[in-house]
């Protein structure tokens, strides 16, 4: 990185550290921070969408849809996320490739499963094996987003379902009295009001989601914890210009600080959103806000 870094063994103190912390490997660590943040930013709305879908399905008049909504929430919520991640990504990947295979190679006559091997035609591979590495990584990233969203969507569905129930029945009855259809009452009355009830549960879910990111390496995404573990391990002089003993403690301490700061920032932001949502709502907190302003 810096011009004086050509021979690190001659360096000491801060200049050594500045070279050490800017090696290509450390840059990977910094990139992984961005990857993790991006993943969280995409996963949160997606999981919310899944949760909303499942919660609406669980309230549906149509029985199979209701079963689907309830089944999805209770089964996925029952499984530890780690156990889910250990087999689900591969299954998801195979399912996608199998569907593509059905479409792209209709006259393939060999079995898909040969022993334990999973074989689809070349054109059905996701991504194509000729595509560059970044395509593979992006695909892996989106598989991880999807898996995370499915898991946390189930928890979000549980929260949103509770929130929908929590909107006072009188509000819906009023809507009906005004002649709104079920659909209108749902979209115009229930959905805008449920968020204030859902937010505490959703904030908590967000906190749990942040803390689930160390499991990303199980999904094939190299996250911060993976790199901290890798960089912190003992490095012998033979394989690196920056030999050092086991420094896991320092790297994990840095991670601890990172997660604590992230939590703090989230708490502050979510607190503000809550204050805004509460405004004008028919809840105790909303009442308190009104009184304070008056």
């Amino acid at each position: 990185m810096f011009s004086y870094c050509t021979d690190p063994s001659t360096l000491e103190g801060l200049s050594w550290l500045s070279c050490y912390l800017t090696t290509g490997k450390h840059v990977n660590l910094y990139i992984s921070v961005i990857v993790v943040l991006t993943l969280l930013a995409i996963t949160a709305p997606t999981a919310l969408l899944f949760g909303f879908g499942a919660a609406s399905a669980a309230r549906s008049q149509f029985l199979p849809l209701r079963w689907f909504g309830k089944g999805y929430t209770s089964i996925v919520r029952g499984v530890p996320d780690i156990a889910f991640f250990l087999f689900f990504v591969i299954a998801l990947d195979q399912a996608f490739e199998w569907m593509r295979h059905k479409v792209k190679c209709p006259d393939w006559d060999q079995p898909i499963r040969q022993g334990i091997d999973f074989v689809v035609c070349d054109a059905a591979k996701l991504p194509l094996s000729s595509s560059p590495q970044w395509v593979h990584e992006t695909y892996g990233f989106f598989l991880a987003v999807l898996t995370f969203s499915i898991v946390f969507g189930a928890f979000a569905a549980n929260v949103l379902y509770g929130a929908m129930q929590a909107v006072p029945r009188a509000q819906i009855e009023t809507a009906e009295a005004y002649g709104m259809s079920n659909r209108q009452a749902f979209w115009r009355i229930l959905v805008p009001q449920m968020w204030v009830y859902a937010l505490p549960g959703l904030s908590n879910l967000w906190m749990v989601l942040i803390k689930a990111t160390p499991l990303l390496f199980l999904l094939g995404v190299e996250d911060i914890v993976y790199w901290a573990r890798e960089l912190g391990g003992t490095k012998a002089a033979k394989f690196t210009a920056y030999p050092h003993p086991n420094w896991h403690v320092w790297y994990f301490a840095a991670l601890l600080v990172f997660y604590l700061c992230f939590t703090k920032v989230s708490e502050v932001v979510l607190g503000r959103i809550m204050a805004r949502l509460t405004k004008g709502q028919a809840t105790a907190a909303g009442e308190a806000q009104r009184k304070a302003a008056a």
Partner: protein, 235 residues
């Protein structure tokens, strides 16, 4: 008849396309000196050099992929990459599920490292990485086994007295001895040599790499590479 010929032609064509495709090489990247990530953040080590040379000889375009060790075989059979080149010993259990090329290094013995040379293995506590052949071996002996998630932790356990000795690949332990740790005389021959893993349905690729390894064995370049990285004994 015509359609049959067309069919074969198409098959030949796809096979030809298969050749032009990139071969994806799966490795762990956390097992120096076999494969590790260097300061620049790239995969490096004995197997990196070996793999690049093999690809050159087999006239293949290769790309390196990192994968977690625990899921390295499931991801191979699922088709996420085409070969495993990750210091993987050829064992019967693995051979049932995937195929191996011929070994590119002779069997690397497993060795013990302890704080003193006269440690009592049978009466003491022996550490190993969880679910490795070494862990299985210690359990078979009836000794007290303690398993850690990473090899690094097994060595740390001996240093801080949690375990009396650690059993692991000799090439790995060679890099940790010193600073109070000594290697015992006793060694165990576990597992076969190290080879490249390929899917059982992928015999064509296996043949190519097999031939390339043979040619490197014949002209002595493989021995030179083994000597350079000190991964095992030579052929």
């Amino acid at each position: 008849m015509k359609s049959l010929i067309l069919g074969t032609a198409a098959l030949a064509l796809t096979a030809g396309m298969g050749l032009a495709d990139t071969v994806r090489m799966g490795t762990e990247g956390a097992y120096a000196p076999w494969n590790f990530v260097n300061d620049a953040g790239e995969i490096d080590g004995f197997e990196r050099e070996l793999g690049d040379e093999l690809c050159k000889r087999a006239e293949l375009t290769c790309e390196w992929v990192k994968n977690d060790w625990d899921s390295i075989i499931p991801n191979l059979v699922s088709g996420n990459y085409d070969t495993i080149i990750a210091g993987m010993s050829i064992t019967d259990e693995r051979d049932e599920v995937i195929d191996f090329t011929q070994a590119y290094t002779p069997p690397d013995p497993s060795a013990y490292v302890a704080l003193s040379a006269d440690v009592d293995l049978a009466g003491g506590v022996v550490a190993a990485q969880a679910t490795t052949i070494q862990a299985g071996f210690i359990a078979d002996q009836g000794w007290t086994l303690v398993e850690f998630a990473t090899p690094e932790e097994t060595v740390a356990a001996v240093r801080n007295g949690e375990a009396d000795a650690v059993l692991a690949d000799k090439s790995f332990l060679d890099s940790v001895i010193g600073d109070g740790l000594v290697m015992l005389e006793r060694q165990e021959a576990l597992g076969g040599g190290v080879g490249m893993g390929v899917r059982e349905s992928d015999q064509e690729l296996r043949g190519k790499f097999d031939a390339a390894i043979q040619s490197m064995k014949d002209d002595g370049s493989l021995n030179a590479l083994i000597a350079k990285w000190e991964v095992s004994s030579q052929w």
